[in-house]
């Protein structure tokens, strides 16, 4: 598999570089993708951001991307971009963290941006999205919409990003439906449509009537649609896979951030930073609210608005863990970002054991 990805990556690189050689004065920006731009999810959304840069600075920038870069063997791809005159390089998967840091140290005159990581340097910034804000809204909708009182959650791996998503979802659901139950199946994969579909079927068979997912394919959504049940899309609007079943979807919108950082680079004002935005900066958005009654739609919109304006924090204190113990409040009236980014426990009301 890795070999395939490498070959595909190298081919794309060759094409990209051929196009890049002609214009010297333009700012060259590089992207490293973990998946194919056609995954209709995570990488697709990053590529939309790249296109937004091209559109925002016509004639001033030139972008290159390498797709399907395996995380373990990404260093040479990143370095290739650095060596060929790219002055701003975005690496868009958690696993690119160490390789990006290494290359950044080797090329102090190139600026790097790494998504979802936490290691920074003078020329290496990090950025991510508060996807749990969207999950809270989903929870509110699911809590209102469920008739069986049981929601199915197709999860990937027990890392803090996924766990905080489950917790935010549950807190949202509990806010409108205190007795709501969630059943969780860990598919142990980010992308295996068959397995994700099987997980959704198992959850539906066990009485869940709403499915939500933290895996990347539209398969669970499609299963819910096939059975006349409801579900949420992941990373991009997946309505065409479930016109009658999708309630909404969390959309990762990287475009404004990419445009902003490109402008900073062009004006010579680029600085290393750590940015973690959500609804407020438009980095996380919700797809249109569909297939639900007007009152639920209104509630969802109000919840989204409240989070956006800062009136509501999904992890507002007090937060109780599974044992009923109150979690220490380290933020301003809510859990701190650091607490959310390292979350390794379930909140009260989740009747399951977190795999560790």
């Amino acid at each position: 598999m890795n070999i395939v990805l490498k070959v595909a990556g190298a081919a794309t690189l060759a094409l990209g570089l051929a196009g890049a050689a002609s214009a010297q004065e333009k700012l060259k920006i590089g992207f490293i993708y973990v998946g194919p731009v056609g995954d209709h999810g995570w990488t697709y959304q990053h590529d939309q951001g790249r296109k937004a840069i091209e559109a925002a600075f016509p004639g001033k920038v030139e972008t290159t991307y390498i797709e399907n870069v395996p995380e373990a063997d990404s260093e040479r791809s990143i370095e290739q971009l650095a060596r060929t005159g790219h002055k701003l390089i975005f690496t868009t998967s958690f696993g690119f963290m160490e390789p990006t840091l290494k290359v950044a140290q080797k090329y102090p005159n190139v600026n790097f941006e790494h998504a979802t990581g936490y290691k920074r340097a003078k020329n290496l910034a990090t950025y991510s999205g508060k996807f749990h804000e969207g999950r809270y809204v989903q929870g509110v909708i699911a809590g209102k919409m469920t008739k069986t009182g049981t929601i199915g959650y197709v999860a990937s791996f027990p890392i803090p990003e996924v766990v905080s998503g489950i917790n935010a979802f549950m807190l949202g659901a509990q806010s409108v439906n205190p007795n709501v139950k969630v059943k969780i199946v860990w598919a142990s994969t980010w992308f295996d449509p068959g397995k994700e579909a099987d997980a959704a079927k198992a959850l539906l068979d066990q009485g869940a009537d709403i499915i939500t997912q933290h895996t990347d394919s539209p398969a669970p959504l499609q299963q819910a649609e096939a059975r006349g049940k409801f579900a949420f899309g992941q990373a991009s609007d997946m309505i065409r896979f479930a016109p009658k079943g999708q309630l909404t979807a969390i959309i990762d919108d990287w475009a404004p951030y990419y445009v902003e950082r490109t402008r900073a680079q062009l004006e010579g004002k680029w600085q290393s930073q750590d940015v973690w935005d959500g609804f407020a900066k438009g980095k996380v958005k919700m797809a249109p609210y569909t297939n639900m009654p007007d009152d639920v739609k209104k509630l969802a919109q109000e919840t989204e608005e409240a989070i956006k304006t800062g009136k509501l924090n999904p992890f507002k204190c007090p937060v109780f863990d599974q044992t009923g113990k109150e979690v220490k409040c380290e933020g301003n009236g809510a859990l701190s970002d650091a607490q959310v980014l390292s979350m390794n426990y379930y909140v009260k009301g989740i009747d399951d054991k977190l795999p560790k």
Partner: protein
């Protein structure tokens, strides 16, 4: 409660069917003495071509046939290299996987993000509504009946027919078979094509029934599992059947165990299908009743003496 178990069984069948079809194809290939490690690649090409053609022609049947054709076309490349040029089969098979996955992405590129209605299960008025057996026996996907027929057919072919005997003897010792006047290369070519057709069919099942859309990487290692099943089933068709269902069943059951919050660690549960299938098939082989070792000429190239 009956509805619940019926539903689980239906899910198990959906998960096991592609493995069974692909593994049966590879079984015939290996029985003829050829090791084709390219199942994953042929499956991927079958999935993308099947989906693309079904979408373009708006006909699922045409899509399925195109998937089969694509698998066969790719296996023909393998046949050319390994039979024609007597190249190393392991290397050629791995290359075929790489080629297939890349090609599948290319063929399917325009179809990413489109969705289709799954090919529906058959419905026989009267019979399909019977309690208990109705849905399980008379209301399955056409692919299910095809896979069962394939399992029985392959077993019958290998054991009861003259052609099957020839194929097996070629796989056991190609030089002796050649000395006896059997057409070694022609038989192997047909076996490889059959394997390609099965892998393509299994791929088309993925993108047209299991999860009706195309996305690169959607085979997710099923071709490799099919390959492993053939070995663990000691090259016996009915054991391949058993293995595919055991694996599919264990996969679904561990998900139900998770959903029911039994409190078992999910990592262990995820590994369970692999462990259970390996242990079960090894235990069966240990009884030595009807256990067959690998075909004698498996993986070795045959160059006819001049």
């Amino acid at each position: 409660m009956i509805g619940f178990w019926e539903s689980i069984l239906l899910t198990v069948i959906t998960a096991a069917t592609p493995l069974l079809i692909a593994a049966l194809g590879e079984l015939i290939v290996e029985k003829s003495g050829v090791l084709n490690l390219g199942v994953e690649g042929m499956m991927a090409v079958g999935a993308s071509t099947g989906f693309a053609v079904a979408t373009l022609t708006d006909s699922s049947l045409t899509g399925v046939l195109a998937g089969i054709g694509a698998g066969m076309a790719l296996s023909l490349v393998f046949a050319l290299v390994t039979l024609g040029f007597a190249a190393n089969q392991v290397a050629a098979g791995l290359a075929l996987t790489i080629l297939g996955l890349g090609l599948a992405g290319l063929i399917g590129a325009k179809f990413v993000g489109t969705s289709r209605i799954a090919i529906p299960p058959i419905h026989i008025p009267g019979l399909s509504e019977l309690p208990l057996v109705g849905k399980l026996v008379f209301g399955q996907s056409p692919f299910f009946y095809l896979s069962v027929a394939l399992a029985v057919g392959v077993a019958w072919f290998l054991k009861k027919t003259r052609a099957g005997l020839s194929l097996r003897s070629i796989g056991e010792n190609h030089s002796s078979a050649h000395a006896l006047g059997l057409k070694v290369l022609r038989t192997r070519l047909l076996a490889i094509l059959f394997g390609g057709a099965c892998a393509g069919l299994a791929g088309a099942y993925l993108s047209l029934v299991y999860t009706p859309f195309w996305s690169p990487g959607m085979t997710a290692g099923r071709g490799w599992i099919a390959l492993a099943l053939v070995v663990f089933a000691s090259w016996l068709p009915l054991r391949v059947f058993l293995g595919a269902y055991l694996f599919g069943g264990a996969t679904i059951l561990q998900m139900h165990a998770q959903a029911a919050s039994l409190g078992l660690p999910s990592q262990a549960l995820s590994a369970f299908p692999y462990i259970a299938t390996i242990i079960a098939l090894v235990l069966i082989s240990m009884r030595r009743v009807g256990a067959t070792p690998a075909p004698g000429s498996l993986g070795t190239a045959f160059v006819p003496p001049r």
